[in-house]
């Protein structure tokens, strides 16, 4: 990393840069902390369908494993309750900062969030291959003892969690269900707990 403004000669997405200020160039609202992650997935369904399912935030817990629930407060405001280590939860209010039908949704957490975060999800029509969904998330791991625990989860986890959540989103949109090796319903419930 370098402090100087680095001019990139390539076309690689900012979130994959080894040098330069990826956060500033990522296009996500309201820089939160120093950690940023981006994942892309191609979903073999029309962009309108994929966008509509995602835009109804009440749907998100069906494939976002760590999200316990999302309360819809208004068309742009929502309250998130997310599982944290040791049976705890973290909460925040989020507000939609940008929305273009079938193209982009961006959000940021309101002041007072347990984990300040912001992000941007882009939807692009990929023709016969369906829809490319790219999620970019920035987050600010909190301090303190519990914070450390949460940070441990969030410094490592968002990269893994975002990837897994997108895979589940893809599975749900393409196959109507989420793949599991559970042999019975009890095992499945334990997986999701």
């Amino acid at each position: 990393m370098t402090d100087e403004k680095t001019v990139h000669t390539d076309d690689a997405p900012p979130t994959t840069w080894k040098i330069g200020d990826a956060l500033a160039e990522s296009g996500i609202p309201d820089e939160k902390g120093g950690s940023i992650v981006a994942r892309a997935v191609t979903i073999n369904r029309p962009v309108g369908e994929v966008f509509a399912y995602f835009r109804d935030f009440a749907n998100l817990p069906t494939f976002m494993e760590n999200v316990e629930r999302i309360d819809i407060l208004s068309d742009t405001r929502s309250h998130w309750v997310v599982k944290a280590p040791a049976g705890k939860t973290v909460e925040w209010d989020a507000v939609v900062t940008e929305e273009t039908q079938d193209s982009v949704i961006a959000w940021t957490s309101k002041p007072g969030a347990d984990v300040a975060n912001s992000g941007r999800v882009e939807f692009r029509d990929a023709g016969a291959r369906g829809t490319v969904v790219t999620a970019t998330i920035a987050y600010d791991p909190p301090g303190g003892a519990i914070g450390k625990l949460i940070a441990k989860m969030f410094q490592r986890e968002p990269a893994i969690q975002a990837r897994r959540d997108l895979r589940r989103f893809k599975q749900l949109m393409e196959t109507g269900e989420i793949a599991t090796a559970a042999m019975n319903r009890k095992q499945r419930e334990e997986e999701m707990a």
């Binding site: 073999n44 895979r167 393409e174 196959t175 109507g176 793949a179 090796a181 559970a182 042999m183």
Partner: protein, 392 residues
């Protein structure tokens, strides 16, 4: 129910475990009527495959009767089905191209991490074959939960003997795809390393695709005899030098296409193989790969290399120079079983392909541990063990 569970290297047991249930809407439950031990099950038995857990139920070659269906299954109770070993969704881009073993959605999302790191992208799920391939309970059991049952299982007409169609689940399509990947042209000479079930089906398939000569290579006399029955010429590598024999038998040209159906547990005391074995046992490398090296060296210039054999990790001393300088084409992959099943079922029904010749032993599921031991230790006579719940 009773099921064959892995407990460690050379330790498999028939345990009593919970019955499976419908979990997702596209699932079905089948009552297993016949299931086989596969050569690749021996990789698990020998401890070559990572991410196994004690209690994992093995088996990926199985068939049975549908006893329960989810709301979105297209099957009906009472139907007899053969189940592909690859778990594929039928809805993703790859399934749309009939690349079923590359299905995006067959693996649970969390299990995709390992393959993504190791291979770059996750693959389809597999029954009974470690957690890297999904951790799905396998078919060496009384009952199995079959996901995506509207896509995978093929319905077998009434009155057809299980033993005739059981191998549609894996080894017959695998042998067929091996020959297809060899891109055989009329008049070709094809060399096949390994006369296990896949190799023997590859021999039959190669002739059906127009090969003039097939040369089969192994060290078990009985297996070479079976290859001979289908019209192959044979080389026993314990009795003859393989490369030299192939060069003389092909007039100095080399085989037009070569098929490696041996894979990561190649036997034999070749220098590179012994080195591989030392490395495998010291975790420096996982795959022992003499057969693929020999196949590439023997193949004629501009020829084709087909590799149905299972490799999981890394090998060194891979003859990359020979592959490049000779301009060879290499085709490989886990089998796209769902793609091949319908045509191969027809070929069996029309008597074009013989499958039952392979079965050397039939046992009760309860005797499965004995079956593994026999298959492992007497590969000359034990060509295929079929397990049937309630056989005794």
């Amino acid at each position: 129910m009773r099921a064959l569970a892995w407990h460690g290297k050379h330790d498999v047991r028939v345990d009593t475990v919970d019955d499976p249930e419908i979990v997702n809407q596209r699932d079905c439950i089948i009552k297993v009527t016949a299931t086989a031990i596969c050569g690749s099950d021996l990789h698990l038995y020998d401890g070559y495959i990572p991410t196994m857990q004690a209690g994992d139920i093995l088996g990926h070659e199985f068939m049975g009767e549908v006893v329960e269906v989810g709301a979105k299954s297209t099957l009906k109770k009472g139907q007899k089905v053969v189940v592909p070993f690859t778990i594929a969704c039928g809805s993703c881009y790859h399934c749309g191209k009939h690349q079923y073993s590359a299905c995006d959605n067959g693996l649970p999302a969390d299990n995709q991490d390992i393959a993504q790191e190791l291979y770059g992208q996750p693959m389809a799920g597999l029954f009974g074959y470690s957690h890297m391939t999904g951790g799905y309970a396998g078919g060496q059991a009384e009952y199995v939960r079959v996901p995506f049952s509207d896509v995978g299982p093929i319905v077998i007409p009434d009155g057809v003997d299980d033993e005739k169609v059981l191998f549609l689940s894996d080894i017959l399509p695998t042998g067929w795809m091996a020959a297809e990947n060899a891109q055989i042209e009329p008049g070709d000479t094809v060399a096949v390393w390994g006369c296990g079930p896949v190799g023997l089906f590859a021999v039959q398939s190669a002739f059906l695709m127009g090969a003039e000569r097939v040369i089969a290579i192994d060290h078990f006399p009985h297996r070479l005899e079976l290859a001979k029955k289908f019209g192959a010429e044979t080389i026993n590598y314990e009795e003859s030098a393989v490369y030299e024999a192939l060069m003389v038998m092909t007039g100095g040209i080399g085989p037009d296409a070569v098929i490696d159906s041996v894979g990561l547990e190649a036997h034999g005391f070749f220098v590179d193989n012994v080195l591989d074995q030392i490395k495998a046992s010291t975790f420096l490398g996982t795959d022992r790969a003499h057969s693929i090296r020999q196949a590439i060296i023997a193949c004629r210039k501009g020829g084709r290399v087909s590799m149905p054999a299972v490799y999981g990790g890394f090998i060194d001393k891979f003859p990359l120079g020979a592959l490049m300088e000779k301009g060879l084409t290499l085709k490989t992959g886990q089998t796209h079983v769902q793609h091949y099943m319908p045509a191969l079922l027809n070929a069996i029904m029309e008597g074009k392909i013989d499958t039952t010749f392979l079965i050397s032993h039939r046992m009760d599921l309860e005797d499965a541990p004995k079956g593994y031991d026999m298959f492992k230790n007497n590969q000359n006579e034990v060509t295929k063990v079929v397990l049937k719940p309630g056989f005794n």
